[in-house]
């Protein structure tokens, strides 16, 4: 290698400075936000003294707590359904040849590249039209609400889950699955004992992505939520448009901390699943796993 020359050291220093500037850029806004959420003053930016006043008010505010509850309900169901459907989609596209596979592959990618504003417009018109037809045929008047929000969130999450799980499936060589088949495992048994543990990090990553997408969404939810049901981001979005308040800072801080805890949990979980996957690669362990069923 070349010995460190003067211009090389200069470049290195510039690169390091750039990195530090970017980290400040990434974190300063978040830290300022968290800092001012502990401010006692009614005015966001004028510091008086530290207090938990706004956190107290937050949990007494019925709008906030009901929006939070709605968010959690929607995210829970949307994550489970889209993870199951998305994982199945990934397995079908990655491991099977069937008629219409190419078309489905294209259809599955579209929700990822389509702008969320367009997605919102699509689902608004769809529910409007579908509810009209249901009303005409059955005389039942349906309204938008938590159900439509959940259905919409599943619609844009499936593809993201499928992409993450597919990436994982593509990394695995299928010799392990074949080995399980040679050990006279049934298809389902081979899937449950070998494939599923091996793709678990991908499935977990996909589920986390679905959860984040659901908890993040503003636009689509705003379009398909009725007057009765709103989620926390949509409620906060409405508040922010009217102005900045310390209460929003407190709610935002809670949302930030929650997402960081989620990431922490998922990183830990992925490590664990990774270790399990490594273990399965050992033929003796594989035989043992098959035998214990």
């Amino acid at each position: 290698m070349n010995e460190g020359t003067a211009p090389k050291r200069l470049v290195d220093r510039l690169l390091a400075i750039n990195a530090w500037v970017l980290y400040v850029f990434f974190y300063a806004p978040i830290l300022v936000l968290i800092f001012f959420s502990f401010n006692d003053n009614n005015n966001v930016a004028i510091w008086t003294q530290a207090s938990f006043r706004w956190y107290g008010e937050m949990f007494q505010n019925d709008n906030v707590t009901s929006a939070l509850r709605n968010s959690l309900i929607v995210a829970f169901f949307s994550t489970i359904v889209s993870t199951v459907i998305g994982t199945l989609l990934a397995i079908a596209l990655e491991r099977y040849r069937f008629r219409g596979r190419g078309a489905l592959d294209g259809l599955a990618y579209l929700p990822i590249i389509i702008p969320d504003v367009t997605m919102a417009v699509m689902l608004l018109i769809f529910f409007f039209q579908a509810f009209g037809i249901i009303d005409d045929l059955l005389g039942v008047r349906l309204n938008t609400g938590l159900l439509t929000i959940t259905l919409a969130h599943i619609a844009f999450s499936i593809s993201f889950v499928a992409v993450v799980v597919r990436a994982r499936l593509a990394q695995l060589d299928d010799s392990l699955e074949e080995a399980a088949a040679d050990l006279y495992a049934g298809r389902w048994q081979a899937f449950r004992k070998v494939t599923l543990p091996l793709i678990a990090p991908g499935v977990a990553g996909g589920a986390l992505l679905a959860l984040t997408l659901s908890l993040d969404d503003v636009v689509v939810t705003q379009f398909v939520s009725g007057s009765g049901a709103t989620t926390l981001p949509v409620y906060v979005f409405g508040l922010v448009r009217r102005g900045v308040t310390p209460l929003i800072n407190a709610v935002s801080t809670v949302m930030l901390v929650a997402s960081m805890v989620l990431v922490g949990i998922s990183l830990g979980f992925q490590r664990g699943a990774e270790a399990r996957g490594q273990r399965l690669a050992d033929p003796e362990v594989l035989k043992l796993e098959m035998a214990t069923d």
């Binding site: 690169l15 990195a19 906060v236």
Partner: protein, 304 residues
Amino acid sequence: MEPAGSEPRDGLMTLAPVTPELEQAAIRAESRRGLLIALPATVYLVLFFAIPLILVFVYSFATRSSTGQTVLANWNLESYQRLFSPDVLAIFVRSLLRAALTTAICLFFSYPFAYYIATRSPRVRNLMLIFVMIPFWSNFLVRTYAWRVLLGSDGPLSQLSQSMGGEPIRLLFTNTAVLIGLVYGFMPFMVLPLYAALERMDWRLVEAARDLYADGWTAFRKVTLPLSMPGVVAGSILVFIPSLGAYVTPALLGGAKTVGIGDYIVSQFLAARNWPFGSALSFGVMFVMLLATVYYFRAGAKTL
């Protein structure tokens, strides 16, 4: 390497000769199984994605009644003609320029950043990446809101500037504020693919160039940059597309003079109640995105 269990299976095959009919049956069974596994996703995506997409297309040719109702009759091209009126074109141009500028700024800062991360030791590298991921996974709305706090006329930045004897900062509700918000929101989309491309790269090629007496800059230009081009293309598309259709950022940080396609579409549905025109706008933005993506892929492929 041969799969460990290939021998006994070959043995079985010689016991039962594979006839073409048997093979056909196996392929058909496999196809049926694949269809069955894909069925839930197919049904869901057709019902809640393909049909809605077709509906928007149909709506874009419909008429708006004087009361704001959409009349599914008198099909016409009026909504599409309106896309070419000067005020709508101005909004498209503003969005395009803003998205292009966002992409350029992200690329300018992210490339050296990703390069720096990729050339650290594995432990430092992982730590640096985790600290990029944390804001990436944090709530987008909250991160945008943080800039509203920061940039306010009585916000911390303004106070800092005034305490140093400067002017109060009046950036909020301007195009600059929206640009900052977009760069902040989408920067990780640029850093991660760039890092992935640089990390995968075979650094021995750079050493080889240096051994052939290329100076640092030439080695970078002739070896590193071309090899990292897939990351540049992927990152640029990942930043450009959401910036173009952005709604939350202009809505929170922008004002009347910063309207982009995203917030314009939303206003057609939630305020102006002109669904046919809003539908035509949606297809307009998708068309522009498709063009930009294809163009970018071509340009990226050419430099490879």
